[in-house]
Amino acid sequence: MLIKKYMREIFREDKKIKSILLERKELIEKGREITKQIEELETERNKIALKAEKLRDKIVPWANKIRKEECGTYENIEKIEPVYDDPNDYQIKITIFDAVEEYKKALDEKIKQGKW
């Protein structure tokens, strides 16, 4: 309110400047619209990622059971995926990795590069 008290307004006619100002205003509005769309898409993407996490949560207890039954002391489950040609006839592929072997592999690579 204090600023307004000391402000005054003057007017000029200039077609070129006016068109530049209008073009600029239009671009800013377009930019804002795109920012809004990006934010909305980001939220949608997050929602999809969170839904995928929810589905993973539903598999975890089952995977833990499999791990207990099938995995050795140093093994863990890497990936669980459906494998099928026909969606009605599929199997679940469970990829198991050995943490010790993985460590050895990484160490071998370092040795090969002379870093060990």
């Binding site: 934010e39 980001e42 939220t43 949608e44 993407r45 997050n46 929602k47 969170l50 839904k51 996490e53 929810k54 993973r56 949560d57 539903k58 975890v60 207890p61």
Partner: protein, 363 residues
């Protein structure tokens, strides 16, 4: 509007107060799924800096207060959320902290200081909102909700009680905070019956091996030890497994006794929501002025049995034991009611509306 959630030590509170709204609204937080990892400090900082609003759920230490003050300097909006009172002499149970009464006082001071610097305070009940409104005029009540996706019924068949006995559950804080004592006469009578099995969950069987925990839960532990051979006693489970575990218990009737004190009056109806989702009929505590957590929403009371006079606990439970079809119908209707009225999928807009008010103040 980007929102980031930071919780404290109570995983269950974080799940209900943060994870449910964040997942439904596409926001972010220190934990975004039941089995997912917990963000470390660096990731939490990055998440907070990338957001417009940062929600702190029950921030009990001074470091979080300092973090919030720094975030405010970066023009971030701060939301304080809490679902329990820490007011001194309010009946705050000793089981909520590992220390003394002095510690509760200290925590409450931190919480109050946090409330004062917050742009918005959100909580679960009107009573708790009234406590906070003297410290911050922007207080909103956001109800506790359920997410049907997290309940096994949707992807797995629930357990049926095939034991031939009516299974009665005392679960969680009603057991660990000594609230069961108001129904102790009824519990003693139930233990004498052959057609009933008392199922308890909330205090661990090997608790006496830990001297500190034993000191805190001594009364509850000794009570259970005394009746050990007559009950089905379960150890507590991780929060990620809680819903499935609750359903697998196949409890027919959940009893929710509560001592009448300010702490319990500030509590929400969450236990009723959880029991209903697990297919249990509920007998819950009422207070004579109609202000127990299970009476505050009058409509809730149509879907459970309320005990105001503590001498009537046995009669109310016995009624449901004897009337199986009515009990099952009540449990079924309660679940439908909870899904209709406390479902995060239809209530998540409440969080958006509440946060928008402070977010839009920037423009």
């Amino acid at each position: 509007m980007k929102v980031y959630f930071i919780g404290d030590r109570y995983e269950g509170c974080y799940y209900v107060r943060c994870m449910l709204p964040l997942r439904e609204n596409g926001w972010d937080g220190m934990k975004t799924s039941l089995y997912g990892p917990l963000a470390d400090s660096e990731r939490m900082f990055q998440g907070a800096m990338a957001s417009d609003i940062i929600v702190f759920q029950r921030p009990m230490d001074r470091n979080k207060l300092a973090a919030a003050q720094l975030l405010k300097l970066k023009r971030k909006k701060i939301v304080f959320d809490n679902d329990d009172t820490y007011l001194e002499n309010s009946g705050t149970p000793a089981t909520m902290f590992y220390g003394t009464r002095k510690l509760v006082k200290k925590i409450n001071k931190i919480l109050y200081d946090f409330i004062k610097i917050s742009d918005l305070v959100t909580t679960t009940t009107k009573l708790l909102a009234n406590e906070y409104v003297s410290l911050n005029k922007n207080v909103e009540v956001l109800p506790n909700c359920v997410d049907p996706d997290d309940w096994p019924d949707n992807w797995n068949e629930p357990q049926e009680n095939t034991s031939g006995k009516v299974r009665i559950g005392i679960i969680g804080s009603t057991l660990s905070t000594g609230d069961y004592e108001v129904a102790s006469k009824a519990i003693s009578k139930l233990l004498e019956r052959d057609d009933v099995k008392l199922v308890v969950l909330g205090v661990n069987k090997n608790l006496d091996k830990n001297p500190l925990l034993y000191k805190i839960f001594k009364k509850e532990f000794e009570f259970l030890k005394k009746i050990e051979d007559k009950i089905e006693w379960h150890n507590t489970v991780d929060h990620s497994e809680y819903n499935q575990f609750l359903v697998d218990l196949a409890v027919d009737i959940m009893i929710i006794p509560r001592k009448d004190n300010y702490f319990n009056r500030c509590k929400s109806n969450l236990k009723f929501l959880e029991a209903s989702m697990a297919g249990m009929a509920v007998v819950a505590q009422g207070f004579s002025d109609g202000q127990s957590p299970y009476q505050q929403n009058k409509e809730d009371t149509n879907y459970m049995r309320i005990v105001v006079d503590n001498d009537k606990w046995y009669d109310e439970i016995d009624y449901l034991i004897r009337n199986e079809s009515e009990r099952k119908e009540m449990a079924k209707k309660a679940k439908e009611y909870v899904l209709k009225n406390y479902n995060i999928k239809t209530k998540s807009y409440l969080w958006v509306d509440a946060y928008k008010k402070i977010y839009e103040r920037n423009f």
